[in-house]
Amino acid sequence: MTQLYKVAIVGSGPGGMSAGGRAAQAGISHILLEKTDHLSDTIYKYQKGKLVMATPDILPLRSPMDFKLGIREDILGTWDRQTAELKVNVKFNSEVTKITGKKGAFELTVAGGEKIQAENVVLAIGLQGNLRKLGIPGSDNHPKVQYQLDDPDEYADETIMVVGAGDAAIENAVALAKQNKVIIVNRSAEFARAKQGNLDLITKSIEKGLLECMYSSAPVRLEPAGDRLKHVLKTADGEAEVVCDRIIARLGALAPRSFVEACGIQFPSKDPTALPELSPTYESNVAGLYIIGALAGYPLIKQAMNQGYEVVEFIQGNRVKPADEPLLEEKFKKLLDRYTVDELLVAIQSTIPVFAGLTILQLREVLLGSEVRMPQAGETVFQRNEFTNTFFTVFEGEVAIQVDSEDRDDDVMLGPGSFFGEMGLISGRRRSATVIASKPCVLIETARREMIKLIKSLPKVRETIDRAAVERQIRTYLAPSLSRDDMDSILRSAKLRSFKSNEVLFKEGDPGDGVFLIRTGSCTVSRRIGDKEIVMSYVPAGHYVGEMALVRDMPRSATVKAAIETETVWLDGAGFRLLLDHLPDLRHRIERRIGAIITQTEDMAARPETGNLIQFLVQEGGKEAADMLLIDESLCVRCDNCEKACAETHGGISRLDREAGPTYASIHVPTSCRHCEHPHCMADCPPDALHKTKDGEVYIDEQTCIGCGNCERNCPYGVIHMSYEAPAKPGLLSWLLFGLGYGPGEDKKAVHDSHQGKKLAVKCDMCKDIDGGAACVRSCPTGAAIRVSPEQFFSLTNNVAQ
């Protein structure tokens, strides 16, 4: 009779090994089955000498094995030693091919035919056996396209493209860059998925010019180019081609679904990224079959090791609390008189549908990045026009969304389970409505970074949010008082349509088939006048285009082009006409707007130069700016009082270079922050020192800035610079009367020579801490300097041309 183990652990990665260690420590009969001839194959396959991170730092480790930040070899050595010391029963070269049976009597079949009996099974196989492929034309089985990198020193003097933005991609890219020209391709504009340490590493490497990064770029296809590869990518500015020698794609891994399903475990959806559903004790739908580690949805080593410990405790019937429990208890202490943490998690999931698709572990992580807010009835949660970008879910109580600030009858009431604040998250624009607690509430406020991570890893969350967002955008921008039925019929025809920078939404002369509600990005409207394309106006997010052709039943009267990557909600013609029929108010509004547009068009046709000016302003940052400093050079007397004012109000360092920057038709755009909607500078700040105030000002927290210079490099407008602190200087009157010190303004030489402390990033903060607003504008003696938002471009150009 073969031995019946209390627990069989499949896979000896951090999770499985830790479980084995705990079982050995507790004296439970166990067996640890490992496919290869060594422990922890995934980490074994890491690059030689790789620094292994121990994130999240705040999470305590709970395992019989040690683990802290260190080199691959040291960590593996420690684990080997401790596994031996604890006398863990490891069986190498034993790939499990089949698991059958049920709790108390599982049978595991090992490759080669041997069978092992166990009461419980812990699956800790991770995901690395099933790597995600590039999947673009030309990439299948290409010898120069690889998904792993064992030893980066194998390659030299090659041009290598590393595709991916996760930890593996970053580490590979940086290691390869020592001997090769490396381009890392990141689908998004930031490295949100990577660990903090890797984030620092990649940003510093890019900053130093050790490697290049293509942000917001996605592989499209591969073509042969001699014995090299031509890699065609879709970037934010259109298609790009890069010729390279090798592509290393590190796109993560997918669950080894067929094996897991064969064990009887169900997946919640057909989505290849889906992970099995688990109980809070990591038990799958098959009783006695537990899953931990990456396959359970948690890829971090420390978490997996904790789970290894915990799962053995659960199997023994001990209800241990997860290691992050104290952190969650602290966050939710106000609610703990009514719930335990576990009950609270279940309650949150059952109440709030957005979070319903998350595993408990994912939910715990999201909640660690969230705050609980408990406003009283009547208290404001956030104000219309604020620039805050957190995401709220209602756990208890009710909030009123004031869609129309005048008409409170149109307030939308949201009860438990609903969410709000998603527009700020999606568009980066100001809050479009004021939200007030109509009853005492319990709200969960989640950080943008956390939500973005969630949206990226769980498409379902994105869908849920998008669907609701479309409806709310229609309500906010078009039809606040639309009935439920009408809304439903419109939603059926509504589609999300995205456009790349410079892509055309529709062309002059096209038949009018629908209306575009711009939800992120911005567009320019242009018409052919004579033989020239003249820009007529600029349309920022939150407005719609294309209504004219539908109302007037005629072809498109202008061409609309995305000025920057733009996402729209498209409503088909029939749906939009239905809106007009049911809402005479809207029809009037639109008729009036069309009247204004026609007047404006005639006006512009007479003065095409103003169109060029709008085009110029849009290009110089208007397309994504919340606010731009513009100087009318026909008024500017070059006294530099603006720069002096800036330096005097900001520690002696001017954040504005009046003279630098482009000029068109006497309108000069000085080098000064545009306060972008989705600030490029914020995309890659390792210490998270860049913030946006609720008024939209992008500023640097000087206390947290580490001086890495990423923001300086990422800003497309060159408005951030690194500077030493300015030395103190005598007061104004000492200078005015006795000529002491440098006088008002930045003493460039003194700042350069000061070497006080460390060079830190400085940028315009729109004088957010100064009463009365921007000092540069207020100190301009001739009124040449003004700050405008893109919505004001048209009136600005009107003025200039007169």
């Binding site: 070059r638 009082n641 003696p781 001739t782 009124g783 004001q792 200039v800």
Partner: protein
């Protein structure tokens, strides 16, 4: 959106100043002094004197206000617009205060200084209205530093080419580069040109000398001349740029010191009136 200091908020300070001038003029016309001709010692004289003194102190305060960065709610443009119109209005207030009695004394000195300050300020307004646009047109989108960098780049190229064209030409190019000065004495800066410009002279002389170049070097000679001509154009642009800036700055060298002189003589005027009259 953009508004000049003169047109600021629908000429509100023009209106205010005009009102002040009109009221003082009417009062002056109506007022009959009890003793002697109209003068600064009558009740109206004292009133106008007080108003004028207040205005002068307030106008001079602009120099401090301008530098109180980040303080006060008003735009500096608001202050400057008021400064201009009320400063011009001061001429009438102060002149009526004198009762048209002038002499070789400290009182008239204060008046003359005041007129000079206002006149220099009026030139300042003219300069502020005229030169910014000229400056922008002259710069053609480049910053001064960019223009200087372009000149330096042309110099490097000119040295390279001229090195192969014989000592005469090379010497000309080198000397002209060493001697070139931008800026310099106030008069030259203000004029925006330099009649003895070494770059212009070098262009002419190199043009003459290149006639003697062998046919094989003719192409190079033409390239050098093109470089030098381009440099002359840039140098002239920088000089004009400096000239415009100098015109916008120069009046302040009169306006500000004379203001201090005015404040001193005004103190003497007031003290002497009250203690020795």
């Amino acid at each position: 959106m953009h508004e000049s200091i003169l047109a600021f908020r629908g000429f509100k300070y023009l209106k205010l100043s005009a009102l002040m001038v009109a009221v003082t003029a009417i009062v002056y016309a109506v007022h009959q002094p009890t003793v002697g001709p109209p003068n600064g010692g009558t009740a109206l004289g004292y009133a106008l004197g007080t108003l004028g003194l207040g205005l002068i102190i307030w106008l001079a305060w602009f120099g401090v206000r301008k530098r109180r960065y980040g303080l006060g709610k008003m735009l500096l443009e608001d202050w400057l617009s008021a400064h201009v119109y009320l400063g011009l209005g001061l001429i009438v207030v102060a002149t009526l205060h004198t009762g048209f009695q002038f002499g070789w004394n400290v009182h008239t000195l204060a008046y003359v200084l005041m007129i000079l300050v206002i006149a220099s300020g009026a030139f300042g307004v003219f300069a502020y209205l005229r030169y910014p646009r000229l400056m922008t047109e002259n710069r053609r989108g480049a910053t001064q530093r960019e223009l200087l960098t372009q000149i330096a780049e042309l110099d490097v190229k000119a040295r390279e080419i001229s090195a192969g064209l014989g000592d005469d030409i090379h010497g000309e190019v080198m000397r002209a580069q060493e001697k070139l000065a931008l800026g310099g004495p106030a008069r030259r800066q203000l004029s925006g040109r330099d009649p003895n410009c070494p770059a212009t002279a070098a262009l002419k002389r190199v043009g003459d000398l290149s006639l003697g170049l062998p046919v094989t070097d003719a192409e190079k000679g033409r390239a050098l001349i093109a470089l030098l001509a381009r440099k002359v154009e840039l140098v002239e642009r920088v000089r004009r740029d400096l000239g415009f800036k100098a015109m916008m700055d120069v009046w302040l060298f009169v306006h500000v010191p004379l203001t201090f002189g005015l404040l001193a003589s005004l103190t003497a005027h007031v003290v002497s009136v009250f203690f020795y009259w």
